[in-house]
Amino acid sequence: MLEVIVVGGGHAGCEASLACSRKGHKTLLVTGNKKNIADMPCNPSIGGSAKGIVVREIDALGGEMGRNADKSLLQIKMLNVAKGPAVQALRAQADKITYPKNMVETLEAEENLEIREALVEDLIIEDGVVKGVVLENGEKIFAQAVILTTGTYLKADILVGDTRTREGPHGEKPSNHLSDKLRDYGFDIIRLKTGTPQRIDKNSIDFSKTKEEQGDSVYHTFSFDNEIHYKIEEQVPCHLIYTQPETHQIIRENLNKSSMYGGLTDIKGVGPRYCPSIEDKIVRFADKERHQLFLEPESLYYDDIYIQGFSTSMPRDVQEKMVHSLPGLEHAKILKYAYAIEYDAIDSKQLKQSLETKVVENLYTAGQINGTSGYEEAACQGLIAGINAALKLEGKEPLILKRNEAYIGVLIDDLVTKGIIDPYRLLTSRAEYRLLLRHDNADMRLREYGYQVGLVSQEKYDRFLAKKKKIEETKEILKTTKITPTEETQQYLETIPTTPLKDGITLYEFLKRPEVTFSHIQHFLPLDIDSAIEEVITVDIKYEGYIAKANKEALKMVDLDNKKIPEDINYDAIHNLASEAKQKLKKIMPTSIGQALRISGVNPADISLIMIYLKKEYHHES
């Protein structure tokens, strides 16, 4: 008997299907085209600032994206190495052929997972509970839970110049009716827009006019499994170029031909602020003389080069001129033209923190249908939706990550509490406690949860416990080992260089000096530990004060998040509640006082009123 149906085989769908099937539930993944499973329709990269940390979080919880990316690398580097530890993150170029291929292999190896090619056009709903899906041909498939991960395929329109074509990426068939049905069932449907740049034939580019950008010369992995599948010297470079005055000229002259600037007059979709098209950039930042563009390889197995920074909805003839004005691309052959894409999404405020919808029970949504953009954002939601659908089948409480526990928690809380206007991308600035949400400690934060929900094996969990123990032990050793101002020590300190000692000092205190690194500690006390452990310890010690401060702040929030608001609360019965606050509270139905406080338009006085009301009506110990 089928338990879960996942609709859509993108990054969210893959994680959702794997989470459910690995937790032992019979799962069906329905996808429009098997060939597009785990497809990367836009940039050929995984990770980046904040996003790279999300990939680590997915891995810590037992998801697949990190492992799969490690198997499919063209290039990888650590971003922000010159900055503080809180903002470092991995970014990789991933092979667009290998990545999906590896993912499909993983999916096919899952015993409880079946994959089927079909389009879903309706849901089966009885008494507000989802019971299955209806395919395009009318066939009904029944299950206990459904997870929608439809990406950009709901009423997708591809926009190029003055043409609008009803199709998804790669000319795939979109779902024409599902979003209408969702509206009928009570969802508020919004329309969003995103875009992608041209792909250029590698052989037609003169790379001598570009600046090469290589990967790092040390090994990295996203996954805590630490399995290396690439060779440093075989990494494939990216290339940096800049737009030219001529490029800007061409765009300005043809502006009215762009879909967004008059080419099409019926555009409803709201585009992402963080990812404007090149014409947007030239209009909005008119005084900027040039814009950076990256030439990124898509795969070892074909010749497409992706021009990051050049997304546009200009007609094809203008795109030709634009591309040919770029240095090294004078004779470039365009293999695929840039386009904008419009699609339907639901209002994410209609979701619970578990990603189950408030409108239909046992129905979950994840990824672009929730208004986000980005592979990593989609994957982590897919994972959480999958975990929670399974937990619900098992009669257990959902896994809800807090804002101080994971970027995933920040993302989902933002979606369900604040809602979105334009496609949502994770940014470090969205996290209040980014010092706690680091790349290096993702396993310390989340491995336990992954093990509890059953996605992290005993063996991996034991390895994690050993690492944790090692960290604690080593910190203890550093706290109890002293160095004294002997002549020999002072001489060594001069070589670092750092100021000489006045008195004896523990290695723990010594490591706090800005110029001292863990290798200097090893000089005094050789310790047999790997670099990942060194990293966690160094950061924990060096930034101890800041981390303690962040933890203290976070505790206040957790305290408020632990004050629960019952689902049946009647906001109309609370006198004096401001009407704007009342309206928003009724729509969002926050589950805790903390979440209520994060709703814009709900002020502390409203919160006081709610707390008093709860005390009165429910005799809560709040």
């Binding site: 503080g84 809180a86 903002v87 992608t196 950076q292 994060r598 707390m611």
Partner: protein, 450 residues
């Protein structure tokens, strides 16, 4: 909600004693930091202690302090009440000290709210508490708006704008590290920002402190020629407020300096007794001296004699009074009028100091002139200024810790965490706490994207 809260729980300046109340689990620890006397951690509950409130080494006030430990208190938390008798400025100073040392300013009705939430008050009272909170909140909201439409608010606003430039730039450096043509915020640039911040915050603190009528009281002079009734007017005003008059030795006839409270707002009467002495003519008024006093005052009470015609000196002073808040007072209203004042847009009040007639009208007029009718005798009005000041002082502390971090060469993005805190605190002052503000700022200032 575990914060320790503090507020002034008596109407400021009205009574001889003000009570500052502190409640929460850190009450004893926080008060101990500003207390000189018995060790509060060791004294038994429900006892009263004599001692001093101090700001580091400086003694602020001599007080009686009541300590009540949980759970047998109004809020069921540890509660301390400080009985101060030092007037408005001192009371506010004590509150500021508490806020600076870790208390949060209580929201309107918060003590009552806690009492309720902690099960101290009967359920039936809940509705009343809720009404109280919303009523008080509306009031303070209006008041905050009113207060913030000044120079200080625009200064803070500018400061925040400058800050968001730097913060969003740093955030962009973090989120889009591959964009090489975006300026990178270095420690050097950070230093510039910090220096600017430091200077501006100091500047604002100074302005808000000197500009705050509530805190300092309204400097008031009574001018007029001799025997016009200045002293009797003053006596009349003081008579009603005997409790808080602080007499400064003068002649037996002329009590010419003292503090008068009008519904909790302090009028600080300035000594003008010297005027007569500068010129020897009995019927004259010292023009030069009077103008000097007027120059220094926030409020001028210009007294005329109803029985006499206006003199050239009086006319001269009137013509030079300019925009200074002034009330023309025609005394001896009960007697036949010979006075004809020139056409002026200044408010005129007729009184008889002798008969105690018209004094109420005068008080009303003063309130109107300073919009004092919007400020009531309850706690929050004064506090919104104390609150702003304490928030700004917190900013100052953070600035210092950033300076420390700069010395240690901490990465800019670490220091930016503190910078954001300052930005948020400033936002609390101006009421700008829109959560998407920063993200908006990033994308409107920088050009990024695929």
């Amino acid at each position: 909600m575990k914060d320790t809260i503090a507020a002034i729980s008596t109407a400021l300046g009205v009574g001889a004693i003000s009570i500052i109340r502190v409640s929460g689990e850190d009450s004893i620890e926080i008060v101990s930091k500003i207390w000189q006397g018995k060790d509060l951690r060791k004294v038994p509950t429900h006892t009263i202690h004599y001692g001093f409130i101090k700001d580091q080494e400086e003694i602020i006030d001599e007080v009686l302090l009541t300590i009540m430990k949980a759970p047998k208190t109004f809020t069921k938390e540890d509660v301390i009440e400080i009985n101060s008798h030092g007037g408005i400025a001192t009371t506010n100073r004590i509150l500021e000290l508490l806020l600076l040392n870790g208390c949060r300013l209580a929201e309107p009705g918060e003590f009552t709210k806690r009492a309720f939430l902690n099960g101290r008050i009967d359920l039936i009272e809940a509705e009343g508490v809720m009404d109280l909170i919303s009523a008080k909140t509306d009031k303070s909201r209006n008041l905050a708006l009113h207060q913030m439409t000044g120079q200080v608010s625009s200064l803070i606003h500018d400061l925040r704008n400058r800050l968001v430039d730097v913060i969003s730039n740093i955030e962009v450096n973090i989120d889009y590290p591959e964009y090489e043509d975006i300026e990178v915020v270095t420690n050097e640039k950070m230093k510039e920002t910090i220096n600017y911040l430091k200077e501006e915050i100091q500047n604002i603190l100074k302005k808000s402190e000197t500009g705050s009528l509530i805190k300092e009281g309204i400097k008031t002079v009574i001018v007029g020629k001799p025997n016009v009734g200045k002293s009797s007017l003053l006596n009349r005003l003081l008579e009603e407020e005997k409790a808080i008059v602080t007499d400064i030795a003068g002649t037996t006839r002329d009590i010419v300096e003292g503090d008068v409270s009008i519904d909790g707002i302090l009028l600080h009467m300035v000594d003008t007794a010297g005027i007569r002495k500068t010129e020897d003519k009995v019927e004259s008024i010292g023009v030069k001296k009077s103008l000097e006093w007027i120059e220094k005052a926030d409020l001028v009470l210009f007294v005329f004699n109803n029985q006499e015609e206006i003199t050239t000196e009086e006319k001269e002073i009137l013509s030079k009074i300019g925009k200074k808040p002034t009330i023309l007072i025609i005394n001896k209203n009960d007697l036949e009028s010979h006075l004809e004042l020139p056409e002026l847009s200044l408010p005129i009040i007729r009184i008889s100091a002798l008969q105690n007639d018209g004094i109420d009208d005068l008080r009303k007029q003063i309130k109107t002139l300073f919009h004092l009718e919007e400020i009531e005798q309850s706690d929050y009005t004064y506090l919104s200024s104390a609150r702003s000041i304490s928030l700004l002082k917190k900013c100052q502390n953070i600035v210092e810790s950033i300076e420390e971090g700069l010395k240690q060469e901490l990465p800019v993005d670490m220091l930016e965490i503190d910078l954001k805190n300052i930005w948020n605190l400033l936002g609390e002052i101006t009421g700008e706490t829109y959560t998407e503000e920063l993200v908006d700022a990033i994308f409107s200032r920088f050009c990024l994207g695929k």
